[in-house]
Structures are given as structure tokens and as C-alpha cells.
């Protein structure tokens, strides 16, 4: 075998393996769409479940996921952006900074079920919030921190240093420079990071198992101290916990969840490309 042949063989094998990675992704998405699309109608997304969830729609679960996603955003955004600004603009290379970075890497690596345990111990029991939207939002918010911090920090660091220099040289203070130059320019990246983080949170089940989720609650929550249904948990319940569940409802629920999460991902990448195109420097 000549070297050229060896090269071609290697490249061929490599592309085959890459295809092995990518094709199942496409198949999974298509499969869920094909099997779920038949169930997806106006009634399915706007009515409450009936007959032990075997009929009717999944509206409370959809709404619960939307509410939880907003709650997550509120819990996570201020702290995450603050931490990102700290790392990108203020932190010097000290031991404290290295600890902060290590903490973020670790937060990103803690299993979601451990976040669930933490939420149970800290928010549900210790702060006595009960299984509630607020306890779940706080849990998901903390879980989302590292994703948002990292992407926001990247976005802030990507703002060219010369804009900071110019702003400072015109007599702006450090914070004025950050507020009026750095943050506006980094905003597309920050928004992208926030949406990506939220899309993860919206699809998570483990952290909300013991902190918010109602097995079956065919109504809307009354307040943020109320429980709520949520799509991921609902899918878990109807696929494993309820015997004789019609497959169509299971696929329909999976499709709705996947659409919500993937459309958030899509919005994030559109924001990124749109804003990047508008940028003038």
C-alpha cells in the first residue's frame, strides 16, 4: 500500500466515523417528528390532560416549563453576568481568581441530579419554600450559571481592547466604560449564552424531580410557591410510570419538548449571526 493509498484509506475511515456520529442525530430528530406530528394539534397544546393523562392535552406541562424557564432566567442572569464581568474585566491573575475559575468548571460538572439534591436540601427544606416554582427556578438557575458565565465572559473578552482604551482616555471611569462600551458590544454573545443556558434548563428533569414537579396537576399554578407540571418530568411520568399510556401522546409530548428546546437553540444562533453581521468593526 502506498502512502497515498494509506492517506485515502484514513480519510475515508474518518469520514465514515463522522457520519456514524451525525446520522443518528438526524434520525432521532426525524423519528420524533414523524411519530409525534400526528398528535400535535391545537387541542393537544391548549387543554389539560384527562382520564389519567391518557387523553386531552399537555397545556399545564408546557406552561410550567415556560414559567420555570423564566424563573431560571431571573435567578441566573444577574449573578452570571456579574461574575462574567468580574472575570473578564476586573479579575487579576490571583489565587482567588483561579479559585473562581475552578469553581465554575466544577459547577459545570456537577451532575444534574446532585443539583436536585441540593435544591431539595437548601431551598425546599432549609429555606422552607416547599416543592414550588421558586425552589425549582433557583435550582435550575444555579445549574445554568456556569454555561452563561463562560459564554458571557468569552463575549466580553472578544470586545477589542482599543474601545476600552479610547473610552478610558476620554475620562470615562472603569464602570462607565464597561456599561456604555463593553456590555453593549458584548450583548449578542451574552444573549446567545443566556438562551443556550435556558434551553438546557428547559429540558432538564433531574433537578426538578424533587423541587417543583407535580406528577399530575391539571390546572395552572396559583403562585410561585405552588407546584407545577413540567414537560420533561411529564414525559418521564407518562412513558414509565403510567401503564397502557398511548404511544401517540408520549411521542407528541417528546416532540413538543424537543421543539421548545431546539427552537431556543435556533434563536440563540440566529441572534449570534444577525448581530455579528450588524457589527461595524
Amino acid at each position: 500500500m502506498t502512502r497515498q493509498q494509506a492517506h485515502q484509506l484514513a480519510v475515508g475511515l474518518i469520514s465514515a466515523v463522522a457520519a456514524l456520529v451525525v446520522i443518528p442525530i438526524v434520525l432521532v430528530i426525524l423519528f420524533i417528528i414523524v411519530r409525534g406530528i400526528g398528535t400535535l394539534d391545537w387541542e393537544f397544546i391548549t387543554t389539560v390532560p384527562r382520564s389519567g393523562m391518557k387523553e386531552g392535552g399537555i397545556m399545564p406541562a408546557i406552561l410550567g416549563t415556560v414559567i420555570l424557564t423564566f424563573g431560571t432566567a431571573i435567578a441566573c442572569i444577574p449573578l452570571a453576568i456579574g461574575a462574567a464581568i468580574y472575570l473578564a474585566e476586573y479579575a487579576r491573575d490571583t489565587r482567588l481568581t483561579r479559585w473562581v475559575r475552578l469553581a465554575i468548571v466544577n459547577l459545570a460538572g456537577i451532575p444534574s441530579i446532585v443539583y436536585g439534591l441540593f435544591g431539595l436540601g437548601a431551598f425546599v427544606l432549609f429555606l422552607n419554600l416547599g416543592t414550588s416554582i421558586i425552589a425549582g427556578s433557583l435550582t435550575l438557575g444555579i445549574m445554568t450559571l456556569p454555561v452563561v458565565i463562560s459564554t458571557a465572559e468569552e463575549a466580553i473578552l472578544a470586545v477589542p481592547q482599543r474601545f476600552r482604551m479610547v473610552s478610558l482616555s476620554l475620562g470615562a471611569t472603569r464602570w462607565q466604560t464597561i456599561r456604555s462600551q463593553v456590555l453593549p458590544q458584548a450583548m449578542p454573545g451574552i444573549i446567545t449564552g443566556v438562551i443556550l443556558g435556558l434551553s438546557r434548563a428547559a429540558g432538564e428533569t433531574a433537578p426538578i424531580l424533587f423541587t417543583v414537579s407535580a406528577f399530575y396537576l391539571p390546572r395552572l399554578p396559583h403562585s410561585i410557591f405552588d407546584q407545577t407540571m413540567a414537560l420533561p418530568y411529564h414525559l418521564y411520568v407518562i412513558s414509565t410510570q403510567v401503564p397502557d399510556m398511548p404511544l401517540s401522546i408520549q411521542y407528541g409530548t417528546a416532540l413538543v419538548l424537543m421543539l421548545i428546546v431546539l427552537s431556543l437553540t435556533l434563536i440563540a444562533s440566529i441572534v449570534r449571526t444577525k448581530m455579528r453581521r450588524r457589527r461595524e468593526w
Binding site: 466515523v17 436540601g121 471611569t173 431556543l264 437553540t265
Partner: protein, 320 residues
């Protein structure tokens, strides 16, 4: 022409404290407060990690105090009869994770190499978003598919049940692929172009350049990718719970142990926490499992973080 220059008397116009303008002083205060808040936000991440550990300990400590360690890490997990041996769960987690990594490493690294070195631009623009999409698919959806589609297929292959180590590993492998691919691709990208050019200049084929030069120089980044992939796999809960059969036993050594049901640590917490009385020993043991998971992932991530730390620092402040 150049007489002795006149030196002006010092005046105090630059000192904000000495020439106080109210507005200037107010702005100073606002800046001070905001900068403290930002600093607090940064440092709070350390605090949060500490809090997580604290609450796990707070709820899980009784398990370590009330159950002899021999028994706690023993081989029997029958909570109903007060047998809380974590060994079968640890073995379950290890089996599924090792299986996942064995599948994911070749797939992930190869895909990263393809994307980074061989794929034409148009393919890259399709493939990279697709892999992001994979990262975005909720684990419960993959678990659901594993449950209704993959498990029956595995069973048809001859296993006594479709809910096995192998089924779990396969799904976990795909779930850790986005992590492995994106980090290893970054590592490959960071290898200076001159290295490749150098290899090509002495007559190596593109493949030889990648194999002999690029991969070795990207080694530490690839190790980080694999470590974070392991961390991702060992902590995964829902999908694993749905497809591994939830049988808390230690399968006998051999190839067919891949086709037996097991129960992982994560799945145990998720499945049983809903049924235990708060404050009971069983409840504490579930938190103790959380502590074990926390310690494992903390170790993996701290190590990976330290490796990353030696690489970082260069990229900052270079975008003048």
C-alpha cells in the same frame, strides 16, 4: 531663547477629594458599589460550590455516621431490609460510564479530527450546528427513545432484556459526544499552523501530519475533552435510569455483563427519593450517594480545570 523655565505652583485640580464636585463624588460612590457587587458575583461561585457541598453533607452525614463503612460500601442494596450497600450502584455507574467512554472516545476524537482537519467548509457549517443540536436534545427525550425504540432492538439481538449496560452506554456515549467533540476540536485548532506546514514540507501526507504531529501536540487538550466527557457521562441521570433496567446487582465478570441490567448511582437517587420519608436513614443514604457523585465529579473536573489552567491565560488581552 531657552531661559530658565518657570515652574508653576502646584494646584489641586486633579484631586477629587480636595476639589469636591458633588457629582464626581456621587459617581465615585456608585462605581464603588457596583464594582463591589460585581466582585461579589464572581466570588459567589466559590461560595455556591461550598453551599452545595454543605447541604449534601448536612442531609447525608447521618448515613456515614449510622452505617458502618464496611456495610455502606458493601454488596447488598435492599433498602426495604435496611441493607444500604453502595457497591452495586458504584459498579453500575462505572460499567455504564466505561462502556460509554469506550464508544465515545473513538467516535468523538475521529469526528473532531474530521471537522478540524479534513472536512470542507460547507460540511463543517452543517455538522457543527448538528452537533450543537445533539447537545441540546433533552436527556429525557433520548431516554424515552432508548426505552421505546433502542431497548426492543437490543433485546432482539439476544439479550434477556433490552434494558442493559450496553443500551445505557450507547445512549450516554452520544450524550457525551458534543462535549468531547467541541473541546477536542478546540485543542486541534490551537495547534499552530506551522507544525502542519512543517510536516507537509518534509513530504508527509496530510494524514501523517495529523497523526504524527497535530495529535501529539494537542494531547493535553484531548485528555481534558475525554475527562469532561467522563464527568458528563457519570452524572447523567434520566436517560440512564430509563434504559439500564434498574437492577441493583453486580454482574459477573465477562462479556455478557454488558447485556445485563444494572442500576447507577444517579438513577437510584432519582428513582427512590420520591418514596422515602424525609430524615429517614434511606433518605440520608441517597444524599450520601450524592456526596460520592459530587466528590467523583469534583475530582475529575478539578484535574481537568488544572490542566486547562496551564493552557489558558495566553488568550487574554491579545485583541488590541
Amino acid at each position: 531663547m531657552s531661559d530658565e523655565p518657570v515652574r508653576p505652583k502646584p494646584y489641586v485640580g486633579l484631586f477629587s477629594q480636595v476639589s469636591p464636585s458633588d457629582r464626581l463624588r456621587l459617581r465615585g460612590i456608585i462605581d464603588f458599589v457596583i464594582e463591589r457587587l460585581i466582585q461579589f458575583a464572581g466570588v459567589s461561585t466559590i461560595f455556591i460550590v461550598g453551599l452545595i457541598f454543605f447541604f449534601l453533607i448536612r442531609e447525608g452525614l447521618p448515613a456515614f455516621l449510622d452505617i458502618p463503612l464496611r456495610q455502606l460500601f458493601g454488596g447488598r442494596w435492599y433498602p426495604i431490609d435496611d441493607f444500604f450497600g453502595l457497591w452495586p450502584l458504584i459498579v453500575g455507574s462505572i460499567l455504564v460510564t466505561v462502556g460509554a467512554i469506550v464508544i465515545a472516545i473513538p467516535l468523538g476524537l475521529t469526528t473532531a479530527i474530521y471537522l478540524g482537519e479534513f472536512a470542507p467548509q460547507w460540511q463543517r457549517e452543517i455538522l457543527k450546528p448538528l452537533i450543537e443540536v445533539l447537545a441540546g436534545i433533552p436527556s429525557i427525550v433520548l431516554g424515552f427513545l432508548g426505552w421505546v425504540v433502542l431497548a426492543p432492538i437490543v433485546q432482539r439481538l439476544g439479550a434477556p432484556t433490552g434494558l442493559t449496560v450496553f443500551t445505557g452506554s450507547l445512549i450516554l456515549a452520544y450524550m457525551s459526544l458534543p462535549t468531547i467533540i467541541s473541546i477536542s476540536e478546540d485543542a486541534l485548532y490551537a495547534v499552530p499552523k506551522e507544525y502542519r506546514d512543517g510536516a507537509l514540507a518534509i513530504g508527509a501526507t496530510q494524514w501523517q501530519a495529523v497523526w504524527r504531529v497535530v495529535l501529539p501536540s494537542a494531547r493535553s487538550g484531548l485528555v481534558i475533552a475525554i475527562m469532561l466527557g467522563i464527568g458528563r457521562a457519570i452524572g447523567e441521570t434520566m436517560a440512564v435510569m430509563m434504559v439500564t433496567g434498574n437492577a441493583a446487582n453486580v454482574p459477573g465478570l465477562g462479556l455478557d455483563m454488558l447485556f445485563q441490567p444494572v442500576r447507577t448511582m444517579t438513577a437510584t437517587i432519582a428513582a427512590e427519593m420520591g418514596e422515602v420519608a424525609q430524615g429517614s436513614l434511606h433518605y440520608s443514604v441517597l444524599f450520601a450517594i450524592g456526596i460520592v457523585l459530587f466528590v467523583i465529579t469534583f475530582g475529575i473536573n478539578s484535574l481537568a480545570g488544572r490542566l486547562m489552567g496551564t493552557q489558558a491565560g495566553r488568550r487574554r488581552k491579545e485583541n488590541i
